[in-house]
């Protein structure tokens, strides 16, 4: 049985797509970080995995570690990289890391319906050419494009072709080539591509280094020298240089595949509601209106009715009890205690319930 893994930035629609495919109603929250563990489901005899949302595959956060370990160790047949199409550049930064893992990758441009509103056009053919991955546009929440998604998945599973690795500047590329030539690279566990390993060596990735035997002295000396040269050349540490190189690739691809037809209108209700000086006065005004509505308008009306009802009940009961000659202490408990007490509590309850329902 073949396996596909959904991965992408937080809040890009992975879980919506996952639910759409598998019919499992996994909880989708409208905030990032909802999927902390991976979820599994079946779709057309293919195992589908929903991985947590990540911006990167760094060795630091638990979600990133989980996603990375899963792809490297379990080797899904296809990585489905879900991209929030309105945020292409940052999504492609993650793609640049996925492309190095040696698995085939399908790019899914999600939220296609929002693109029009934002005035963005994406040239999918060009995107496919520049990344070396097949590209398909969908809108998971509206269920648009799922037929072509299915076709692309089947096609990609059959082809099983790894994408083009992002190319860095010549200086870094030459360095990577030299590192790959070293015998030490033969020791990397299966399923880990050499280029990826060479990059991890430069980045001093803790997770990778802990999975490897100790580096022989000569090679360690060589790496140390290489990293010192890198620092001098780029005036930053190797990990930062690699990130910078990746973003340059993402920037380049986004620039060539994406055109903005118009600048999104930037003034709306949020502009006032979340502004520095508007927010708190607006908050007070809304709370005041709610208070006035519930306690004043609605509350005044319902309180009147209830009070009248209990006063009527009390006076009628006292006439009845008097005529029966009930002991005054007992009638006092009934009328002034129970009826008046329950009456005022009920009135208060009604007030607060109308307040909270506002």
């Amino acid at each position: 049985m073949q396996t596909i893994a959904l991965i992408g930035n937080p809040n890009c629609g992975k879980t919506t797509l996952f639910n759409e495919l598998t019919g499992i109603t996994a909880y989708v929250g409208n905030w990032p970080g909802v999927t902390v563990e991976k979820k599994e489901g079946m779709w057309n005899n293919i195992k589908v995995l929903d991985l947590p949302g990540v911006y990167s595959l760094s060795p630091y956060s638990p979600e990133e570690k989980l996603s990375r370990r899963y792809i490297l160790d379990e080797q899904p047949d296809l990585i489905v990289d879900v991209i929030d199409a309105t945020n292409l550049e940052r999504s492609l930064y993650l793609t640049s890391q996925l492309a190095e893992l040696g698995r085939s990758v399908l790019l899914v441009l999600n939220m296609q319906d929002l693109l029009e509103r934002e005035g963005i056009v994406i040239d999918t053919k060009r995107l496919s050419l520049m990344t070396g991955c097949p590209v398909v546009s969908i809108s998971a929440s509206k269920g648009i494009g799922l037929e072509s998604f299915k076709k692309e998945v089947e096609h990609a599973l059959k082809e099983n072709k790894a994408p083009a690795c992002p190319l860095f500047s010549n200086y870094v590329e030459n360095l990577l080539t030299t590192i790959i030539e070293d015998d030490y690279l033969h020791l990397i566990p299966s399923g880990r591509p050499q280029r990826w390993a060479a990059i991890k060596l430069l980045e001093e990735d803790e997770l990778f280094l802990s999975s490897m035997p100790p580096i022989p002295e000569a090679f360690a000396e060589f790496l140390h020298q290489a990293k010192t040269n890198l620092r001098l050349h780029f005036e930053d540490d190797p990990e930062a240089i690699i990130i910078d190189q990746r973003y340059k690739v993402a920037e380049h691809i986004a620039k060539h595949c994406q055109t903005k037809k118009f600048q999104k209108k930037r003034f709306n209700f949020d502009t006032i509601a979340t502004s520095r000086f508007g927010a708190i006065p607006l908050f007070i005004a809304i709370m005041g209106a709610v208070f006035y509505l519930s306690i004043g308008l609605v509350g005044g009306y319902t309180t009147g009715i209830l009070e009248n009802f209990f006063a009527y009940l009390g006076s009628n009961l006292s006439i009845l009890l008097d005529s029966l000659g009930v002991f005054p202490l007992l009638s006092g408990i009934l009328i002034d205690g129970i009826i008046a007490g329950v009456g005022s509590v009920l009135t208060l309850c009604l007030n607060s319930s109308s307040f909270s329902s506002c």
């Binding site: 930064y93 910078d244 973003y247």
Partner: protein
């Protein structure tokens, strides 16, 4: 001392320089797109001035003042 991002006010633009933070935070901020030379603009400030919202690389990001303080500008 270089100017840092928390010193910007709404509407101001700048170019990101070095990030002076522990490894993990530095990686996180860079993963979010704060690489050298990238253009940032402060879009909004919370009522008490913290956190702040900045626009970079075509998207908006909310940052605590403490995090903005480690991002140097040039």
């Amino acid at each position: 001392m270089a100017k840092t991002m928390d010193e910007l006010t709404v509407g101001q633009r700048a170019e990101v320089g070095a990030i002076k933070a522990p490894k993990q935070l530095k990686r996180r901020l860079m993963d979010m797109g704060f690489t050298k030379g990238v253009d940032v603009e402060v879009v909004k400030m919370a009522p008490m001035g913290d956190p702040m919202e900045v626009a970079l690389r075509g998207y908006n990001l909310c940052l605590r003042k403490a995090e903005a303080r480690v991002i140097e500008l040039r």
